[in-house]
């Protein structure tokens, strides 16, 4: 019986592939893409774009992004679906989209889909992953940080990883360092972030161990003069990351209080 079934599957497989090729189908979308959210004294903007229409302009359709905002403790506090015209984009300011009383820290997720669930247009794109950037600023726009997302919800776990950023920070030029970590998984993750001098990788400075709840986040701050770190190059390193590419976003603060930011 099993051999009959196996033979039947072999016979039907080309037919199945042919149907899949010729029939319309849903846009195949990867898991939601995640990025840190900063509220309170910060303004955060995300830039969703209808990129499938730019890739397939003669059969361009609107797209929809399903977006959500999670608080630092992992609670989903707001969500929405946003339609974007062909060739269009959308600047999402959570403070405008979701209204007041948002958390000061959290995580934003976005997942693209087509407005028309059955379409031929984008089958050649294969598996698509949502595409957006985040712009962080203070309210007076005296500082900017423009950062692309790095990981997806439930990407491969990285809790056993040891990681050191290739980024060399000059302690003589910055006063304070902040790192924002998100945990886009369904499990709590233990992670330790610390600083490493370029000339002494063995010594871990300012170790910040902690457990990040599922879909949660945390923000860590190092006051460099307080730590005696006032000159020389140093890097950020981690013992354990929530996913294998969930590296922290870094914000470096200058003496005048302004900051810039980057993926680590």
């Amino acid at each position: 019986m099993s051999s009959v079934w196996s033979n039947a599957k072999d016979v039907l497989r080309p037919l199945k592939h042919s149907l899949q090729h010729h029939l319309p189908g849903r846009l195949r979308a990867a898991a939601p893409v995640v990025q840190a959210y900063l509220g309170g004294e910060f303004e955060t903007r995300y830039t969703l774009v209808n990129f499938p229409s730019l890739y397939s302009p003669r059969t361009a359709h609107p797209c929809v992004y399903d977006v959500a905002l999670y608080a630092a403790d992992g609670r989903r506090v707001k969500h929405d679906s946003l339609r974007i015209a062909p060739f269009g984009s959308l600047e999402v300011r959570p403070s405008e989209l979701f209204g007041p009383n948002l958390p000061e820290l959290g995580m934003f997720t976005a997942r693209i889909r087509t407005a028309n669930p059955l379409t031929f247009a984008y089958k050649h794109l294969g598996l698509v992953t949502s595409h957006f950037y985040a712009l962080y600023s203070d309210r007076a726009q005296s500082s900017f940080a423009l950062v692309h997302p790095q990981t997806l919800v439930d990407a491969a776990r990285g809790e056993n990883m040891r990681w050191q950023s290739g980024y060399l920070l000059d302690a003589g030029k910055i006063r304070k360092l902040a790192a924002v970590q998100v945990n886009p998984t369904s499990q709590p993750v233990d992670s330790g972030l610390y600083l490493v001098r370029a000339e002494d990788r063995a010594q871990h400075l300012g170790v910040r161990d902690g457990c990040i709840p599922p879909m949660g986040s945390r923000r860590l701050v190092w006051d460099l003069p307080e730590m005696g770190l006032t000159q020389g190059m140093f890097s950020v390193a981690a013992r354990g990351l929530p996913t294998n590419n969930a590296k922290p976003i870094l914000f470096t603060y200058f003496n005048d209080g302004s900051f810039c930011g980057m993926h680590a």
């Binding site: 397939s56 050649h124 294969g126």
Partner: protein, 277 residues
């Protein structure tokens, strides 16, 4: 093992460049360096407008976990803030010719106030034989302009080089509103082996009414290039705020038929004009 890091000045935005070429072992490949051949040798070439202006075959030898600085202090052409330069660092570990991934760091400073912005990004493989020009599609949903804010896009357009002045390559650059409407388009002949910095506000030439609120646009560029490193700079002229990010190639957000995408994406101009006629 080898790779090439393509980077660019952005003097047009009033920014001075310092790059730190790194020789690190990534956490997933620590054995690579531990196995020996840990030094990274660097050759540096600097182009302006398709002409090789500076070449140093042994610019630096970087030990494991070390770095070499490329700045006006170590690379004389960078002292000229009136022109744009494309810099090409050829990085080699050991004798094999395969590619190794290595991130390097660029920092752009906005003046004498200590403000700067930095970025890490990867070196690229070195193509074998004569470099072939491929179509490229850039999507930059990260352009903002306002009364005080401007965005600069630096295209470091690398091609083959055999002496003299390099040829050009056709590029079409479109500025799209969030509605999808095309605000403006540029047809440019960009010289290879050169860095081209697009000042978005200047390019738009007053086609958008500005205010003190940030107006987000998407810039879509289609062109032919051997290889291209594209950086986007955001600057507030009044507050001196500064930000920087690189672009992501299409393989970050699709995994299907890239050849078809490259071909169809170039139909955008026809499709966009047809849909609005």
């Amino acid at each position: 093992m080898q790779g090439q890091f393509i980077f660019s000045t952005c003097n047009r935005a009033g920014l001075s460049l310092t790059a730190l070429l790194r020789n690190t072992a990534r956490s997933d490949r620590e054995g690579e360096v531990a196995a020996g051949e840990s030094d990274m040798r660097v050759g540096l070439r600097v182009f302006h407008a398709g002409v090789l202006e500076y070449e140093c075959g042994d610019f630096a030898t970087i030990p494991a976990d070390g770095f070499a600085e490329v700045s006006a202090r170590t690379c004389p052409p960078l002292g000229d803030a009136t022109r744009e330069f494309l810099l090409l660092a050829h990085c080699r570990r050991g004798q094999a010719d395969g590619y190794f991934a290595q991130e390097h760091q660029v920092t752009y400073a906005g003046g004498h106030d200590g403000r700067s912005t930095s970025l890490l990004y990867d070196q690229m493989p070195i193509p074998g034989g004569t470099p072939k020009a491929n179509s490229i599609l850039l999507m930059a949903p990260k352009v903002w302009i306002s009364d005080d804010v401007d965005t600069f896009i630096a295209l470091a357009n690398l091609g083959g080089y055999s002496g003299g002045r390099s040829g050009g390559s056709r590029w079409q650059i479109d500025f799209l509103a969030q509605s999808g409407a095309k605000i403006h388009g540029l047809d440019l002949d960009l010289v290879q082996n050169a860095s081209h910095v697009i000042d978005v506000k200047e390019a738009l030439g007053g086609r958008l009414e500005l205010s003190d609120a940030l107006n987000m646009l998407t810039v879509v560029a289609r062109g032919e290039t051997g290889m291209c490193a594209i950086l986007t700079f955001l600057r507030n002229r009044r507050t001196r705020a500064l930000a920087l990010e690189h672009s992501l190639s299409p393989h970050y957000y699709m995994n299907g038929d890239f050849a078809r995408v490259r071909k169809e994406a170039f139909l955008f101009a026809d499709a966009a004009s047809g849909s609005r006629s």
